[in-house]
Every structure is written in structure tokens, then in C-alpha cells.
Symmetry: C2
Subunit: 808 residues, 2 copies
Amino acid sequence: MKINQFAYVPTDLPQIKKELADIRFLDPRSEKIAEPLTLFKQLLLKFFLESQSLQVREEKLGDLMATKKLPLPDYTSSASSLSKNAFYNVALQLLQFQVSLDFDLDKPVETMEKLGLPTADIDKQDVTKDQLIQAWYLLLNTRTKNGQLLIDYLAGQGYYHQFKNIPKPLLFNGKSQAVFDTDKLIREVVYVESSEDSDHDGKLDLIKAEVIRPSETNSGLKVPVVYTASPYDQGTNDKLGEQLTHDVNEPLAHKKPNKLKYKDISVEAPDEKLPTDRKVKGTTDVAEESFAKTWTYALNDFLLARGFAVVYSAGIGTSGSDGVRTTGDWHETKAVTSVIEWLHGDRTAFTNHTDNIAIKAWWSNKNIGMTGRSYLGTNSTAAAMTGVAGLKTAVVEAGISNWYDYYRENGLTIAPGGFQGEDTDVLAALCFSRMQQAGDFHKIQPEWDKELKKLTKAQNRKSGSYDQFWDARNLMKHDNTKIDMLLVHGLNDWNVKLSNVFNLREELKKRPITQKIILHQGQHEYLNNFRSVDYSDIVNLWLTNKLLGYENNANALLPEVIVQDNTKEDTWTPYKDWGDDAKIKKVSLSDKWLKNIQGNSSFNDKLPKKLFDKYIKNTKSWRKQLYKFDGSSTKLDERCIRLLSKPLKKDIVIDGQISFDLKLSSSQNVGLLSAVVVDYGKAKRLTEVPTVLSPQQIITGYHWRKDDLKEFTFQKKATQYKKISDGHINLQNRENSYRSDEIKPGKKYQVEFKLQPEFFRVLKGHRIGILLFATDMDFTIRGNQDITYSLDLDNSYVSLPLLNSSHK
Amino acid sequence: MKINQFAYVPTDLPQIKKELADIRFLDPRSEKIAEPLTLFKQLLLKFFLESQSLQVREEKLGDLMATKKLPLPDYTSSASSLSKNAFYNVALQLLQFQVSLDFDLDKPVETMEKLGLPTADIDKQDVTKDQLIQAWYLLLNTRTKNGQLLIDYLAGQGYYHQFKNIPKPLLFNGKSQAVFDTDKLIREVVYVESSEDSDHDGKLDLIKAEVIRPSETNSGLKVPVVYTASPYDQGTNDKLGEQLTHDVNEPLAHKKPNKLKYKDISVEAPDEKLPTDRKVKGTTDVAEESFAKTWTYALNDFLLARGFAVVYSAGIGTSGSDGVRTTGDWHETKAVTSVIEWLHGDRTAFTNHTDNIAIKAWWSNKNIGMTGRSYLGTNSTAAAMTGVAGLKTAVVEAGISNWYDYYRENGLTIAPGGFQGEDTDVLAALCFSRMQQAGDFHKIQPEWDKELKKLTKAQNRKSGSYDQFWDARNLMKHDNTKIDMLLVHGLNDWNVKLSNVFNLREELKKRPITQKIILHQGQHEYLNNFRSVDYSDIVNLWLTNKLLGYENNANALLPEVIVQDNTKEDTWTPYKDWGDDAKIKKVSLSDKWLKNIQGNSSFNDKLPKKLFDKYIKNTKSWRKQLYKFDGSSTKLDERCIRLLSKPLKKDIVIDGQISFDLKLSSSQNVGLLSAVVVDYGKAKRLTEVPTVLSPQQIITGYHWRKDDLKEFTFQKKATQYKKISDGHINLQNRENSYRSDEIKPGKKYQVEFKLQPEFFRVLKGHRIGILLFATDMDFTIRGNQDITYSLDLDNSYVSLPLLNSSHK
């Protein structure tokens, strides 16, 4: 077990004393205590809640061991001074570590260090009063065994709720404290008037927004807002999505060559003629509608207890809102930013669809941040890129930055991992929850049918090229953002692939903003309830800075890049950058460092019908055959080229984008190439979906939401290999993704392309495997065409970007 | 999808009108409405919460379709009368079913029936006012698509919380309503003085109990209590448990023959000399200690919103309590019943461990029920069997009734499924959470070490026989219970095996009490959040009857036995009994109905070392080989006898205990036999662990706990076979589990034994497979001994208990 804290703010003694007084651990009485041992006991008695009787608390002190032999009460009454060991023995127990099991009472400081927990620089034998105060402060800001800061654990026990007149908000070590009364949260619905009419009903679209705000706002407190724009939030049409999913067993079509330049396919949002604004007939401060939510984001709930309001809105075409779904274009973004504009005081919202009674976000401090993963993070990115006023930051988890990178790649129609055959129309239908309100749908059905057809046609699955349809869905196209961003992505995310966050980060680098990125070992996962990393605290620090305007030094304190190691459990390391300063190792594919397993330089893509049918039903069995580097014969030996390097003499870290530069031909006038780079070597690897360590273990506020404690842990069994990265390219798009060139059958062309960016450690003794093939059962269309691909391996290269170790 | 409701109470019109007035759907104003259509609209407007504005609610009415063409507002303003179809179109939408996807607006009544939902007997075209009232009442008591009664869904939305002065408790259709204010729940800790001193410290053990009660009790309301006695509740020592787990790769030992009779090994609780009671130094009504819980049982939380207090207590040897763990004997039971006695006013509790200030359960109505699964259910059974006053019912889910049936079987040491090597000592150490309070543990460690050693010795893993140790842990031994019981068990539970619930039920049958049983298709699972069955409502009905004393006819209404079918999804069927009235089909093992796959009648148990090592590491691969009935050669062909029946000409249902009567010999003076009966035939089978249909979908009360919606669904792939049941016997225990007889090598003995009771449908065309072998890698000890077993198949029989179809 190892715990990694990044969000601790180094604090000097006067400030420590002030903050401990703010949260009621120090008071005029404790000022007068001269004896460190006495003060230690007083602090512990406060730790066990002053709302409980003294005797109850004394008994809890008796449950703690101070030394190998002495329970705490015996120690405080017999020792002449407080030792560092005694302090950290008690500290570890308060942090929920178990004596004997987790640590030895003779070696608490060593254990703290081994666990990665901070210890104060205090005397070994005679801890002074000031040292004790410093150590206690640090301890409260240390993570427990169960995934929370100790002060947050205490808040969940009711520490803050025992005091009357506790200030709200209350900051401690730069982070907002759980002092708000979640029992009294106010939940209300408003309808924001957006400047669009996506369902063409002659009226501006009203967008439903659900607000949860502290009741303290009713007494005049203005609060920051965390806004999550989830298109799934009002329900999804799963069956319809399934029905609309496209058949991917279709041949790759020839594209007519063109000489397109980017300007030919660049689009701007059209100047649509809009209906006039609704005429405001009156105003009110009181909403007319309330709600009870099923799914909520646990991180948002954590923030609710800490004085942030939370707003959910699903956008155009969802239940309660007007409009139709359009998957990623400006219509959708406009709905998202409309809510921000309302929260910032720049736009009108109404209490219902009919009466035109306006209601303001009078309780908002006008500082809005966005949160959420996947499509939710996508909407955060989209909003951030518009530069909309009021949005002060976005925490983007696994967001799409360019929809082309979600459904297409280098001129090919490519699936998000696990969703073969999905496309913009499928997703639009999936999220079109207006359909679930039959009466509302009844009015809009013809318009929806039309829009859906338009989408299906315009996305042009036959082509795969970047065109105006996709240019309208490139969220990075207009980079007006002026805000600091926190990006989070899983290094095993093959759904929203890493190019999305990599490219976004590269774009953001050009601007004078602060951005941070956290790369974890999950696939498409949330990170707010892990033991090994203080993600919730990082977000708390970040939002307290950005939305409460409190100078906690977040920008300087948080590392530029935090990466979870893929070869060890619980290991998170700060880096200066990702992918920009790597050393390139370029190797010819005929280099003797690489062994060509079958000795071939060409392959044919067509499988016998029966085998093909088996593989499309069970792509796992196909992968299993494909990834065989051990020389045993498989059914795919003539369908791919397999190269395997010599064992590595030391660890290497792939830092960024592996690229290929291949000289190859197709036997037809169409062709596609897939490349996979593999870490080959028997090892225990981390799970990509978190393991629940303890259900309902995290209490995010007093009598408030509980969350499961999770972690990426080693899989039970060692495995032989793991994909590092992959890439796919349509050979007609060898220039770029919008221009199509001719392929003359049999003629060799030079084709360069990059794989998905990664950060991947390959251990000493492991080998690098390379797979070159055509149809990728999991990602590409599957034409099973009789095409032979021939490579000139002498003139084909792989380039590995290796971490520049001075760059840590 | 199919929904099965058992807890609806048929109600006559006057009572319906009274109850609808109680919950505010009818009032003097609605009395005056003559027009059914107008009343329908009024009811719907109330459905959408009167706390919301009329306009908001009118808009929600507009979201509903009444007929294929007309939204509800158009229908109510244009139709001349209310049709049954319009009512059920709207009803289905309120129940969260989707137009087109889940039902056709032309056929709502047919859909209701297909879904298993009740419809009122009302006119097709001209629904009268009284008919409408009856249909509306029935609708509110109908389950939604998302696993709740519609009235419970409404309560979660805040329906009841909009009204001032709503009566508490409030009953509707015989069930307690979620009218209580969970925001204001009171949480307090007391320490109950038990009449035992299990840690021999010269003081009676104090047992920590955590109380959660409605704040309404502070104004004088007395409430019923739901009590869950979970030894896991204060933490578990998982690593220690692992360390103590026994090596099972040990030879089967010869037991000296004896002529023991039951009276020789029967024990009573000894008359221990006890310390005197603590002297009460004062009394109080106010507790001194509070708590915040991580895990809570969702069903208890559901009940908290409905006016039941909930009490958790972990018992002797757990954190906060005195004593040491003893796994299942009277010490443990005494701690459990002590809390009941306190809740009933018959025993003292204190506010802390030291001050001797007594505190009464002054808020309790003295009616206590118990809930919980596994060890929790075991404690419920133990308490019920004592006949303790105050306990009015127990809802026992997957409880142990006799610890011998958990860790032993027919003279053999047998593991609970998935826990090879566990025993009473391991479980005691696992639950000894006092250890986690280092200061407290420090005082008790020597005594604990002694007690643990005693346990390890006394459980006598070498023997496997029933003796005094186990007689003290047979919870059915003293059957003093006078209370009605609701039993629940998974038909695939190989952890707490079905003999536990079967034998308990047989015992209870002898007494003049009402008992009900629900058998589901899970392994060791909770059932309170399923879509297909109204388990929470059944429990609500049951506890409202038993603890609030409300005559809702629960005893007569609920079926004796409810069984979930193993061959279909979502199918729950009532039966009159389980296992007692079956037709026995007795077949000789040499009958031509059974094909002997290898043609052998003897087998040797010893495996080559390498193969043995492989199988103990991966028992799944062993099972895969063992279950091969297709005639292909396997590595176990000489280690077992495989018999396979002819295809069944019609479905049969195994109802109760399959038994074997075998004539066989062992080549040594020891021997064991394992038997498995298998359903052989390719079919889709249900998952044994529930699938999450929708996370956080169920809201159990207003702003209260959410729960995942779950179901046992068909596995994705068809499988070839499934175990129906199994059994194991030590050939020295062929008389009974306490007497040991000699085995003369080579001599054939007649050995009878029963398998675990089941309720299992085998489909027409499937075959019955029988496996006879010795070492069971998953359950028995694994000596890998060179023993040959020989059977006289002509004089060996299997008896299948078949459901008497008139018995449904």
C-alpha cells in the first residue's frame, strides 16, 4: 500500500495556528497549556468529538497504544515528554492503520514514510508545543487508510457540525471544508433560453437545468457553481441505440481522389435566422419545480458538502428540454454554454416552459467550473473552448476534444473501443431522452426523424475522411479559452482515446493558461474514490482556487503532469511534460534488433468465411491468436507481420506517440493498415477497471453520501503481454485525413502515421512486439477483402519516443 | 421483463377511499367532482406534486399520451368519457414504461398483463368514478419498471413531505409509508450488559449497540425496532483470517470406532459462575456517544424512512464491546439476545463502559424484528430459537441453522463454498475486531490467544464428526421459538448451504407458528433491490404486521413457499410446500435409463502429483474435466464414475433432497464419497450473482438512500451443464455423523446419504448426470490418497424427489 498526496499546501506556523483556531482545534484555553503532552491529550479529546461525553472520549483514548507497552492514557500520565514515535504511533491509529497488521509500534515513522505519508520535522524525544501543533496540522491533512484526508474523515463523523456559528465557507490548508448542511440542500429546476432553435419549432430552445444549492444561500451567501453537462442524465434510449448500430462487416470503399486543402472543408457556425427572445412577463426568485435525482457524480456530492452549488443539465433534445440531439456541433455547445451564461447573469431562464416568468441565479458567485467524464467532459471542453464568460475552469475527465478522433482515424471509420458500429447518429438517438416523454415526442417526431436521417447521411461512414461534418465537431477549432484546465485521462482508455486529451493539451499549451494533467491506469474511469491518490483533494484545492478565488498556490503546487505507473501498484509520479521532449529511437523493421517471427513481408487480409464469422462473434479469440509471438503456429500467420525485439537491457518509458513510416503496397485500389505495439513479457499487470476495496467506505460529509473505496490493483495472474498502443490508416489518406489519393495496385507508397499517445513503462527483460495487419476486428470496418499487402521492410521504420529521464 | 407482486392486499372500496384520503389523493373537494375525466386529471396533478406550480404540473401532463393520437390534455378536454385503455396508457407511463419501446398505445391492458402487473376490473369505455378510484389505488400499489411500488417512488420524489401534519406512522395497503424525516434521524450508542463474561475479566460483557431512531420519538412516538446483529459490522481482520486458514491438503484420518449415541455428545450451556451485575449509579434518557456508519443494510434504510428504528450490534469480541469471539455458541447468542432484552425493557444498558449510568430504550414499542443475511441471519435464527421476549419475528436471509452444516458434513470436514480451509477459529479471528483497537486489545491479548487455541483444538478438523463442540453450535437444538419467521435463501448458495434453511424449516413446522420461505436463484445474495419481485414490499407487509401489530392479513396473503424458476427470467411461483410431498423416483445405478460413460464400477482417487498440484491451484480446471459427460477422454476417467440418463421426455422438478443408497468398498480403512447430480443440456442459465440493471436507481425515501436496481439475468452464453446438488460422506460415518464404524478394506457396505436440498427444474430433452468420486477439490480435504473404491452398481440407487404437480 502506498498513498500519494499532491494537494498539501506547505504552511508556516502562524498560519497553522490561525487555521487550527478556525477549525476549533486551538482556542484561548489551549494557548495556555504549556505542556506538550497535555496539549496532545486535549487535541485527541477534541478529535473524538466534543459533542460526546468526556468519559466516552477518554475510553477512546484508551483504545490507542502510544508505545509498544503503554496505552495512551498510561503514556500521557507517566511520560515526561512527548516522543516523535508516540505521536506517530497514535497518528497511524487515527489514520485507521492497524497495529501489528499495518505497522510496528517500534517503527511508526518508518511506516509513515513507507506508506508515502508526510511526517513533521520534529524532535525525537522532546516534541515541543509548536512542533506538536505543526505535526497535528500536518496529520489532519494526511490521508487515512480509507481514502480520505483525516480532516475530511472527521467532518464525516460530524466534527464541524458540533459547532454553532462555524464560518461558511471554511478553508483549511487551502481546501474547502465540509461545513455545509446537506440535509437542507435546495433542489430546483429552471429552463434556460438558449440562442438556437435546433428543433425548428419557431421558438428558442429552452434547456432544463437542475440546481442543487446550499440552503445558506437563502441567507445571502453567494456560492461558486460546479456544473456537469451530461446528455445521459435524463435517461438513455439503449434499445434504440442498439437497433441503430451500424453493420461494420462492409468492404472498404474506394474514394475518388481529391486535392482538398483544409480551407475547402473548414466550416464556421452558420448565421441561422433565429426566433425572437421570449418576452419576459414577470420575474421571481423562487423556482416552481423540484426534483429527486438517481445518479449523481460522487465528486459533485463531495463538493456540495463543501459549499459549492451543483448544476446538472442534459442539453438539447433531452427530457424536459427543447431541441434535438446533434452530437457535438455548435447547437449542442450552445445549450451547454447557455446555462453558464445564466449562472453568470448574462442570460434569461424561466420557471417553466409556458409562463415566461424569469428567474435569476441570484445565489451564484458567478464563478463556474465544470466537471464530469466522457461525454460530460466533452461538453466541458466544448464550453471552455468558446471562452464563455463566467466559466473559470474545467476539470475534464476522459473528454473528447475532436469528434473525428472519437469515430474516425486517418481516413477510416473507427469504433470507440467496445462500441463497434456506433456513430454520431446512434449516440444522438441514445441521448434523445425527449423521446421518453411520449406527449412531448409526439409533437416533435417528424422533425426528429428528419434530423436523425440528416445525421446518418452526413457522417458518411463509407468515406471515413475528415470533412465539413467533422470540422463542425472539432471542439479545438476555435480556441478562445482563457481559463485554467485540469485534464484527467486513463492510459488504457480505448473508448475516448488518448489522442483526444493529447491534442487538446498541445492546443492549450499555446495559450497563456495553466493546465495540469493526470494520467491514470484505468480505461474509462472516475478517480475520485481511490486510496492511492488524493484526487478529490486536488480538485478541492483547484476549485477553491479557481471558483472561490482563494490564493492557495494551486497553480504552482500541483505538478504539470502526474502519471500512474503501469508496472507497480499505488505509484503516482510527477513529470514536467508529456510527449514533447522524448528521445526518438528510430528502428528499421528489418533491423536485427527485431525478429520477424514468420519471416514474411507481405500478408493477405481475407479469412475463410467460417473463421471470419467466428472472430467477429468473438474478437477476443481473434486477439488471442493475433498476439502470439512465441512462434507457435496460428490461423493468422499469413494475415499479419509479427516482429519481436530482443529483450530490453533496461526499463524504457514510451512517452508520447509511437510512429510508423512504412513503405508498402496494396493489391487493390483500396487498403488500410493497422499497427499495434506490444509489451511482451510475463508480468503482473494492473486491472483497468478499479477493484472495490471496501464498499460504502468513504463518507463525503456528515450524514451525507457514501462512496466505495477503489483502486487499480494487480490482476490475480501474470499475463504474457499487453498492448501499448495502436493506430490505423486508410492508405488513400496517406497525405492527411481530408485528402484522398489514388492507390495503384502493387505500387509501394511511403505511409507515415502515429499511434495513440501513451505513457508506458516497459520493464527490463521484456520485449517490444510489433503487429502489422489490416482489418482490426475491434476497431475498423471488416470487409474481409481479398487484398494482399506487401511491405519493403528495409525501408519501413518504427519510431519510439523514449522518456528523457532528465525530464522528471 | 416480468414483475411478480405478492404483497398487494386486496381492499374494498370504502377502505380504498379512506386510505386514499389518508394519503391525500382524495379530499372533500375531489368528493364533489362527478366527472371521472376531471377527477383523473386532478389525481394526475396531485401525482406531479402539489408543491410544484400548477403550470409545471400541467406541462408534465402534456408529456403523457392518452391514446395513440392524443396527449393527455387533449384527451381530457375532448373525450366524453374515460376509457380503460387511456387509463392504462397513462398508468404505464407513470410506471416508467416507455411508449413504443415497452408498450403499444393500442394495447396497454395486454402489456400490463404480460408484465405481470395487476389491472382493475373496470369498464372498457365508460370508467365510472368509483372504478377510477379503485384503479388509481391499485396503480399506486403497482411496481414500476424500476423496482419500486409507485407510491414508494412518489415518496422518494417528496410526495409525503409536501404535507404538514401527515400522520406517523402512515399505512397504505397494509404497508408502512415513507413519511418519516430521515434528515433528522438520531444516532446513538449504548452498551448493553450481557449475562456472560466471555473474556473472563471478572466483569459482565458490555455489548455495544448502535441505535438509529426517528426524531419523532423525541416527541413521544414509540417505534418498532429492526435489529441486525452483524459480527462484521465493526471491521474484520481479513489478513489474519487468511493467515489462519487451514491447509486442506491432508490425508483423511482413520477414526477409532465408537458406539456413541446422541445423548453421549449432547451438551447444555454450562452453569457458569458469573460476576455480579454492575451497580447502576444513575439513569439518563440521553446517550453520550454518536456514530457515523459506513456499510448499512439497504433494506434497513428503506425501513428507517418508514418509521422503524434500526439497531446494529456486532456482539462479543467486536470493537467497542467486551468479550471474545466464539463462533456460534451460547456466548455469542447471549450477546445477541441481550440487545433484544434491552430493547424490550428487560435488561440494563449504560451510556459508556465506566460510569454505570443506565439508559433505557424508552422510544421502543417493545416489538423487535431481526434482519440480515449470512452470519447476520444466523444470529437472527439463534435469537429466535431462544424464545427471547420482545423478538416478534425474524427475516432470515441465508442464515446458518447448525454450524455443523456450515463446516462439516456426514463426518467430514467440508468447506463453505469458496472458503476452503476456513473453520470456526478462522471466522472468530476474522470477526474479532476488538483487535483493531490496539489499546483495548493490549489488555485482552493473552486471554484471546488462549480462547483461539481452544477453538482450534476443539473444532477437531481431523475428525469431522459431530460432537459436543458442534452440539453447542446447533442453533436448532433448543427450539423455544414462538414467533413467525420469514426465511430467504439462494438455491445456488454453496456457502451457507441449503440444508441450513431446509432443516430449520422442518423444525419450525413442528411449532404453531407461521413461516414463509422465498427461494431465489442467487448464491449468497440480498434480494431487496430486484425488479422482478416485490421483496421489500413483502418485508414491509410482514414487519408492519408483526411489529406494528397492524392486521394486514400478511399470514394468509403471502404464499407458503415462493420459488424463482431456474429456467426462465423473472419468474417467481408460489408453492404449498418444499420437499415434503415429492414423489420419489428410485433408480438402480445399473438401470438402462442410465448410461455408464466409462463402463467402470470402481475408481482410484490418487492423482499424479503434477496434476494434483495443478488442480488444487485451479479447481475450475478440475471441475471442467470432471463434468465431461460427452464421452471424450479426460484425465479423471479413472477417478470417478459418470452416469448419464436418457433425455427427459418432459420437464421434471427436483423438489427437496436427492439421496443415494450405495453399496461400496474402500481399499483402505478410511474412505469418503462425493456425489454430484447434474442438469446436462445446452441452455441459457441465470447468473447467480445479480446484474446491475441501473445504478442508484431506487430512491428509498425522500432525499434518502439510493440503491442499485438488480436482477438475475440470463448469462450471455448457453452452457452445457449445471450442478443440481451435491453431497459428501465419510464412510466411517455411515450410521450417522457422530458414530464412527470400522471399514474393512475391500468389504462392501451399504451407505445412504442425502444431497443438499434443492428446487430445480430440469427441462425436457436435458439429461440427468451423476458423478461419483472421492476427493472434492472445492469442498473436502484433499489427501490424494491411494484408495480404490468399488461399487456394486446393481445394488446402488439414486432417489430423485419429484415435484408433485398437484402441489402447486
